[in-house]
Symmetry: C2
């Protein structure tokens, strides 16, 4: 139950309205569950505002997130809220030619190149860069470049980045960082992933 | 990127299949953002499985969660996945007579009584008890009774409970507990809540 009351009023020369509508960068990191799930929950609010949403899934497997993908696709096509474009690395990015064989590293970089193009064109109002912390953590995409591109992005574009081990530069730059801590997980006691819960 | 590999195989006499389809209790607690958002994200997966979903919002204000409510209501009515019933304490539970004036404490108890009835009848496959940690924390609903009801619930019903300060009995009993830690929040630097982001 957030109270909506800031604890400090900054001396930044902005009006309340300008400050209120500031484009934000969110990072959901940490070992616990809920990082991506909370990002897709945020997409529901964006959809309700009628915002165009771009999801970029930086994961190899196409198995995960099928529930979220179908739900957001149905919502995006319902004509009642915003639109949703769902881009998947796992089955090959749609803008990459089918006959090009990409390593995971190359595929992650191709994804990031497209995000840069879309940010420059202001294609979306909300970007969900799902599991994008991994390619940065693995050194495939330079976190310093990501921060620079985010800092210079035009207009009013919100960006959510998920994944464990978000790099320090990104955490320092982000407006909102949530660390999902694992307190208890059924897999610790032998519970396997199940349909409707894990995917 | 969960690997789906349990770290321990328990000696509980259950088959893998029985263990896999075990009904689960989730708790999303802690001071950070994403507790409710992740619960609604989970509801997207449940919807995709065609499960009936019951959301019980244990909050006074009807302002919050409007995006999630509209999105899940549109999904529930789309005929493509599960159904969604959205119950709100803030505007008065639908099963409580309009002319009855309830205190917050009474209203929270009425909500819990309905959850108990629905669990007994197996009305839903997924229950989102949003902000339900508060009435327990405040002593309005007895956590020991909640644990008892959850332990004895019939069938295959999953329950997600959100809110800060989840009581210890519930955390001990739950299958999955995620503590959302606040690393950084824009309100700390004077950013006010904004449309599409906070609601």
């Amino acid at each position: 139950m957030p109270q909506g009351q800031p604890s400090v009023v900054p001396d930044d020369g902005l009006t309340t309205r300008q400050r209120r509508n500031r484009p934000l960068v969110f990072v959901h990191t940490g070992p616990g569950k809920g990082k991506s799930t909370a990002a897709f929950g945020l997409a529901l609010r964006a959809w309700n505002q009628g915002w165009p949403i771009g999801v970029f899934q930086f994961v190899k497997s196409a198995k995960w997130k099928v529930g979220e993908e179908r739900a957001l696709t149905v919502l995006g096509a319902s004509g009642e809220g915003g639109t949703v474009d769902w881009h998947k690395m796992g089955t090959g990015w749609s803008w990459v030619q089918r006959d090009r064989q990409l390593s995971n590293e190359e595929a992650a970089r191709e994804g990031w190149e497209q995000v840069k193009r879309d940010l420059a064109r202001e294609t979306y109002r909300l970007y969900v860069l799902d599991e994008f912390a991994y390619p940065m953590h693995w050194g495939w995409v330079d976190p310093a470049e990501v921060v620079e591109v985010l800092r210079d992005r035009p207009g009013n574009q919100h960006v959510v980045i998920t994944g464990r081990n978000a790099p320090a530069e990104l955490v320092d730059y982000a407006d909102l960082v949530t660390e999902m801590g694992k307190v208890k997980h059924p897999m610790d006691t032998g519970q396997k992933g199940q349909r409707g819960i894990e995917w």
